[in-house]
Amino acid sequence: MQITRTQRALAHITLTVSILLIVFPVVFALVTSTHSFQESFSFPPKFHVGSHLLDNYRAAWERVHMGRLLFNSTLISVAVAAGKIVLSILAAFAFTYFGEFRGKATLFILILITHMLPLPIRIVPTFELVEDFGWMNTYYALTIPFFASATGTLLFRQFFLTVPNDLADAARMDGAGPMKFLWKVLVPLSKTNMLALFMIEFIYMWNQYLWPLIVTQSNDMRVVQIGLKMLLAGEEQAAEWNVIMAGTILAMLPPLIILLILQGSFVKGFAMRQEK
């Protein structure tokens, strides 16, 4: 699109200023995580980079067993993202390559309905159910209830619908059964979509707070997000922001890295199709 030079300059300025404003909180958090306690406690606040970065991260790491929390968060996020991908690919495959089997519409709606039932709507009974299963304070409770994915099922179904039908026919002529076709043809073709879904679901799971809060009690089963609260709650008097921010940076780094790596596939594989 044609734009004038003034418009161009205005756009640059607006974008730069907005981005500075959006980035500021995180930059300030990062800076604070390098300060000594005195520096972080000064008013007016200091914006220089301090020299206590390692001390603060070590303190945060030790204070709330950050290593364990990061491990737990990584484990459940990878497991849930992978579980959602596998389950939704299988379901989407069923909905696209087997014609109008009996009950198909009902099954499809049942899976889509996940969208309508966020955790708060069913939190008490789900909690009790997990308790009855004896899953309290286990990885099962933190992963399995999240395995179904309406988003994923829709995403893969939509993608499969764009794959030419001839490909399945060719595979049949080539002697490949449905599972082989899925594994050897559809799965490799779905790479972009799988990466996109992995990114979304990893971040989604990493950022879960309420459910891990109620189904875990022991410190070795807690996740990073709860770790933040533990860091904050330890502060009865003046907050030790330098240490808290070190913990915060650790908590936000993994999803941020995944986002930056997979951003491309996410936009191509997911965001561009979402509105259909």
Binding site: D169, A170, A171, M173, A176
Partner: protein, 368 residues
């Protein structure tokens, strides 16, 4: 190589009959083309032979074995798809090898077969490319290569050339003919393009609404169409159809269109005696109506004066749409002829090539 037999084959989707009473035997090493407008059931027939669709009733056998219950992979036939259906994530080699791998063919043999097929098709230097890096013509070759490596009893082609541009299509058509000569295999080929059908086929099967209209050698179908549909479908521009009566005058029969009269040659006339004074459809191909260049016309060629409506020069000739009375028809005249719109034109109709059809059923009147 093998014979393919279809016996009273029917196919129904929901309540709709897509293929009805299809009976045909494709001889060993024969090249048979199924041709017809879209929706005539030709592709469905092909897919039933492939095993991709179940038959509703009837029997299909390949090399003497009834295959109704045999899944596609065990029918020992290969298929080339309209969209080529190449696996986008596999290179050319893997695309061709996939079917062999699934059948547990040893690696060395796969390698050998793929290399040989690639050689035949002239794609040896493309083996490591992906489909996206190939031109349309190259993809087409890979699709054929995938079929050839299987060394099947028969090949099925589903409109394999329709995604190519016109020039490439002509070239690939010639190559296909050569390939068949080389492979000496049974081929069933589906197309809507009658030129492909005419140039490639040993026999043509013309279909409409799920039924066979006519089976015959290309020239047979062109020269002696069994009915009005086949007459109109084969040949381009298509045959002219005019509503006329058969009139008798002494010993001679005439085609009488009120505003014009054309004498039926003696040797044809005997076949139509029973139809005197009846309404019939007179069919004549545009190539059998030429400009009239001299006064004395040879035996069986009749003069006709009409008014020009449209003039379409295509270089080698001029396609003229002309009218006489209420009848409109097309003729192919020489470009050297002066043709002006809205002016009369003198034409010569080769009545030796005329056709007559029953108006209700469209069946050709042969009298015999």
């Amino acid at each position: 190589m093998a014979e393919i037999r279809l016996e009273q084959v029917n196919k129904r989707f929901k309540k709709h009959w897509v293929v009805r009473d299809f009976t045909l035997t494709v001889a060993d090493r024969e090249f048979v083309v199924l041709v017809g407008p879209s929706g005539c059931g030709k592709s469905t027939t092909l897919r039933m032979i492939a095993g991709l669709e179940e038959v509703t009733s009837g029997e299909i056998s390949i090399a003497g074995r009834v295959v109704n219950q045999v899944p596609p992979k065990d029918r020992d036939i290969a298929m080339v798809f309209q969209s080529y259906a190449l696996y986008p994530h596999m290179n050319v080699y893997k695309n061709m090898a996939f079917g062999l791998m699934n059948r547990g063919v040893p690696k060395d043999e796969i390698n050998q077969r793929v290399k040989r097929a690639a050689e035949i098709l002239g794609i040896s230097d493309l083996l490591h490319r992906r489909p996206a890096q190939l031109s349309g013509g190259q993809r087409q070759r890979v699709a054929m290569g995938r079929a050839i490596v299987r060394d099947p009893q028969a090949f099925l082609f589903d409109e394999p050339l329709s995604n190519l541009d016109a020039k490439l299509r002509v070239q690939m058509r010639a190559e296909l003919a050569k390939l068949h000569e080389r492979l000496q295999s049974t081929i069933v080929y589906v197309t809507h393009d009658q030129i492909e059908a005419m140039t490639l086929a040993h026999r043509i099967v013309v279909m409409k609404d799920g039924k066979i209209m006519q089976v015959g050698r290309p020239l047979e179908v062109y020269e002696r169409p069994a009915n009005r549909f086949v007459a109109g479908f084969i040949g381009s521009p298509s045959m002219n159809f005019l509503n006329v009566r058969i009139a008798r005058e002494g010993e001679d029969l005439w085609v009488d269109g009120q505003s014009f009269r054309l004498k039926i040659p003696r040797h044809r006339a005997s076949a139509y005696r029973d139809h005197v004074d009846r309404e019939v459809i007179f069919g004549i191909r545009p190539e059998d109506i030429k400009e009239r260049t001299r006064d004395d016309l040879p035996e069986g060629v009749e003069p006709l004066r009409a008014e020009v409506d449209v003039r379409e020069p295509i270089g080698s000739e001029v396609i003229v749409t002309a009218a006489v009375g209420g009848h409109s028809f097309t003729a192919r005249v020489s470009p050297s002829m002066q043709v002006r719109v809205h002016e009369p034109i003198d034409l010569a109709v080769n009545m030796n090539k005329m056709h007559l059809f029953e108006p209700e059923t469209g069946t050709a009147l042969n009298g015999d």
